[in-house]
Amino acid sequence: MPKIEIDANHCKGCGLCIDACPKKVIVFSEDINKLGYHPATPKNEGCIGCGICFYTCPEPESITVYKEDKSA
């Protein structure tokens, strides 16, 4: 199953990924990060690894997307 990771301290809580995820598998965390925002956090259940969240996110290193390598 594909999944994503969000580095909480590199997220500015803008909510763009949450809005854009076609599977609605990203939510805001209750926690407050170092930057003072509620970071986005993945639920992953149902993630299709489409990468939309990655390209929607303005922060260089908050989102990483993992996927099965089909060629391997």
Binding site: P2, K3, N9, H10, K12, G13, C14, G15, L16, D19, A20, P22, K34, L35, Y37, G49, G51, I52, F54, Y55, T56, C57, P58, E59, P60, E61, I63, T64, V65, Y66, K67, E68, D69, A72
Partner: protein, 478 residues
């Protein structure tokens, strides 16, 4: 499980240039479109493996710190001037990939002419034009691209077409220029659009790699902070309010039609250029030293005056260049004006051990008077220092100087020149006299000055002869 998407390697791992304590986050507001666009560019740089030969140009605007983030060559430039700097960088380094990143205030307002000229020249550069319909950095003033009705700090009632005109359509404008190769407008309003933007970014860079000429991608972006919207609302606003006017489209694509043309690197030091420009041989700069010169002839403020046509300006110019050849600081200030046509001409020359603040000479300590009106005017106390050196042309001046507190050389320069067969060398005779008297400039330096300054090489020998005659004249006075 493998990593599919992660921070592109086009970015630095750590932003060491940022003065912030946190050197891994960007300075952008939450949800700012700049970050999304940066990622697309950084990813293309990684994928094309061009990090080592890419030069990013940071503009003035919120993206002024592009150089914090991109692990490439970086230059930060004055507001709107990125296309001019890009031109220089690309022409000096034809193998580099030069990317100009500019906002709409930067590119379409203050830099409007810059981008037009670079596009019209068809520079082989890539421009990413981030149109967020506002001046973001300075707090939300109206830009040329602000939408009709859009409220900004400087259009508080909304942009009004009768007052501020229509939003400027940059890609459509540049498409009318024959030389532009690839122009497209994209947006970041949704996932599909970002994907299109990603492709356009790559295509534009590829266009440059293939030496196909000028490419520009206009990216409709967001400024949630100044639009006073949430990042999600801001993206929707592109869809509802921007694309209706700024239609996303491939405005021009001549990539397949264009021949690959690589700019030739201009080698300023090559022998060829040297001979083309007629440059003298390269020498070491002489140390600034007037210690061998008599105290009263050091650091002269020279005024040279005469009829237009007597070579007064050239005289001053040659003295200044020769001074420069000696390694001194020099200035030459010609006086242009209607009086030059047949009337009087004059120029000011300064030759100094120290840097020169002002090139104009109000009160001279050397006066060279080539005709009578010049002597009459400039020997007056307000124009000439006591103890000054006064050289005057007796052929055309039939009076004696009234000043008795100055050193005087009375020399029939025009007559001497006439005897040599060319009235025009009277000025060179005067130079010779000045050199012999002051020893400020040696013959070698003057000869080099002549090589730079005298256009007609067949006159070289005559000029040298005239200088010698002037020197001999002064020698014989002793």
């Amino acid at each position: 499980m493998n990593i599919f998407l992660r921070k592109p390697k086009g970015f630095y791992d750590v932003y060491l240039r940022s003065p912030a304590s946190d050197k891994t986050n960007t300075h952008y507001c939450p949800g700012c479109g700049h970050g999304i666009i940066h990622k697309l560019i950084a990813q293309a740089i990684e994928d094309f493996d061009i990090k080592d030969r890419t030069i990013m140009i940071s503009p003035v605007g919120c993206s002024v710190f592009v150089y914090y983030y991109f692990d490439t060559g970086n230059v930060q430039v004055a507001h709107g001037r990125a296309p001019a700097v890009a031109t220089g960088l690309k022409r000096a380094n034809p193998d580099s990939i030069v990317i100009s990143y500019q906002g709409d205030g930067d590119l379409a307002a203050i830099g409007g002419n810059n981008i037009m000229q670079a596009a019209n020249r068809g520079e082989n550069i890539t421009v990413f034009f981030v149109n967020n319909a506002i001046y973001g950095m300075t707090g939300g003033q109206m830009a040329p691209t602000t939408m009709i009705g859009q409220k900004t700090m400087t259009s508080p009632y909304g942009r009004n077409i009768y007052n501020e005109g229509y939003p400027l359509k940059v890609v459509e404008l540049l498409a009318t220029f024959e030389a532009t190769t690839y122009l497209e407008r994209v947006s970041i309003m949704d996932a599909a659009s970002i994907n299109k933007a990603r492709n356009a970014v790559r295509k534009a860079i590829q266009c440059q790699i293939d030496n196909k000429g000028f490419s520009l991608v206009e990216i409709l972006s967001t400024c949630p902070s100044n639009w006073k919207m949430s990042p999600v609302e801001a993206k929707k606003w592109i869809k509802t309010d921007m694309i209706t006017y700024f239609t996303p489209h491939v405005t021009k694509d001549k990539i397949n039609e264009r021949e690959s043309h690589k700019v030739e690197k201009i080698r300023l030091n090559s022998e060829e250029t040297k001979s083309k420009l007629d440059l003298p041989e390269k020498r070491d700069l002489v140390k600034i030293d007037m210690s061998s010169v008599k105290e009263k002839y050091k650091n002269p403020r020279i005024k040279i005056a005469g009829f237009g046509g007597q070579g007064v300006l050239i005289l001053g110019n040659m003295l200044a260049i020769a001074g420069m050849e000696e390694g001194f600081n020099v200035t030459w200030l010609p006086s242009y004006g209607p009086e030059m046509r047949g009337g009087t001409a004059n120029c000011h020359v300064r030759i100094d051990e120290k840097p020169i603040g002002a090139p104009s000479v109000a009160k001279a300590d050397v006066l060279i008077a080539m005709n009578k009106p010049s002597l009459e005017k400039f020997e007056k106390e307000e124009y000439l220092e006591s103890g000054a050196l006064l050289i005057y042309n007796t052929t055309l001046i039939d009076i004696e100087p009234s000043r008795k507190d100055v050193d005087i050389i009375a020399i029939p320069a025009t007559k001497m020149a006439d005897d040599m067969g060319d009235l025009k060398v009277a000025n060179m005779i005067i130079i010779g006299a000045y050199m012999e008297k002051t020893k400020l400039i040696n013959e070698e330096a003057l000869e080099r000055a002549l090589q730079t300054g005298v256009k007609r090489k067949n006159l070289m020998d005559l000029n040298k002869k005239a200088i010698k005659a002037g020197m001999d004249f002064v020698k014989n006075l002793k």
